[in-house]
Symmetry: C2
């Protein structure tokens, strides 16, 4: 049995708590959060606290707080020589206080409050300072049921950056499409099957091979027509830049 103490109660922490709760190999020993209210509803399932001095021993301490709070909270921990992991995509492992053994447990997925997520679909990226800590962290990650992979800090930074493109920026393109359809009184829902298929196609085709559309064909008539249809300058700029990018990638 691996005993784990959770520090923080954001989306990632909440999802981890639920996922580990049903594991036979992991016991959530304690759950710390500065604001107790956020975890009060779990007090019958786990020992909760908002006092760092109440934290007692565990195999692994998972610090799952906002990026700018990681350094501070890791400094404030009163114990040492324990394995502490943060869950951030962008914070260097060495920002954790060096009195403890350090590592990263980065679940590469988008977490939304109150929305169900199967951890089978969440690759966990692992980084550890001490080689000997790798096995227990890997075991912990495997308990979630998905893929695990060991990466270095540069690779994690690249993945976190790439995730912004495929998730945040993609979602903003959906938003633009929403604005375009609404303006003509068309239901955005009509685009949902296309959105699904776009994501599905990428599971077996490279983005290069999956590309279609006017920019790829160098179809200037359609491109001009589209630019004329766009009222918003921001939409126009996005259209122009991504059209240019597609042409560049494909040598059009």
């Amino acid at each position: 049995m691996i005993s784990v103490t959770l520090i923080g109660a954001g989306n990632v922490a909440q999802h981890l708590f639920k996922a580990f709760s049903i594991s036979q190999k992991v016991l959530i020993h304690q759950w710390f959060n500065r604001d107790l209210k956020r975890i009060e509803c779990y007090k019958n399932d786990v020992q909760i606290t908002n006092n760092l001095s109440e934290l007692n021993d565990a195999d692994i301490f998972i610090i799952s707080v906002s990026d700018d709070a990681i350094v501070d909270i890791s400094k404030k921990l009163l114990f040492s020589d324990k394995l502490t992991l943060h869950t951030s995509g962008s914070i260097n492992m060495h920002h954790l206080d060096k009195k403890n053994h350090r590592g990263v447990f980065y679940p590469l997925q988008t977490f939304t409050e109150n929305s169900k997520l199967d951890f089978k679909d969440v690759p966990v990226c692992i980084e550890v300072e001490r080689k000997s800590d790798y096995n227990i962290v890997k075991t912990l990650a495997l308990e979630l049921g998905g893929q695990t992979l060991r990466i270095n800090s540069d690779q994690r930074a690249a993945l976190h950056l790439a995730a912004v493109f495929v998730n945040n920026f993609t979602n903003q393109l959906f938003r633009v499409a929403h604005e375009i359809t609404e303006a003509q009184g068309v239901d955005f829902d009509i685009l949902k099957p296309l959105i699904s298929e776009t994501a599905k196609k990428i599971q077996y085709l490279s983005p290069y091979m999956a590309q279609t559309g006017p920019a790829l064909r160098g179809d200037e008539t359609t491109i001009k027509k589209h630019l004329e249809l766009l009222d918003e300058n921001m939409h126009k700029s996005i259209y122009e830049l991504l059209t240019k990018a597609i042409k560049k990638t494909h040598g059009v």
Copy 2:
């Protein structure tokens, strides 16, 4: 039984042929293509021809050729007063020659050669010149098994434009992510669950509500770090513009 003659043999036409072939209510009567080779493998299933003068009567003629060939081929048709539909998202219905009754049968989806597609996931957008033609076109569309909706030309143009954002441009963001991960020797595949989840989330959350990430949080530290990591100017420009767009949408 609705008899249909297919004109053209691109991706959309090929997919339509396969889908209608298994319908009990639709008979593909003839299939025309300038280059016979492309449809020769179907000669046992349907009468094929590359000669417009060989086309005989049918209830509906579906012109599924490239956008810039639609006007020309509709002019060259030797019959008149028949129902002719094109399948393009961006060409005005009135570009079809007016000697025939005109309409549009626009399947809003991304079609890739040799890749299976369930028409249940393809909304068909219908436009007809004569009200009395609507029912037969709707029946035809319903035979494909998916959603159908009647829209006007402006709405179709908006949908086609929005489709470029959610499909072509989204796919280019996947390509950028591919380049970023490759550069650090990380397998792009690791991002696939995130890509799937991004599309899944939009099925029940609006793009506005689904947004997450550094731009939404106004997290300038992460944004700065990301911009420093990007080597390619094109990647930087896309990052900057979409970050600005998210901030604008959410008033950050």
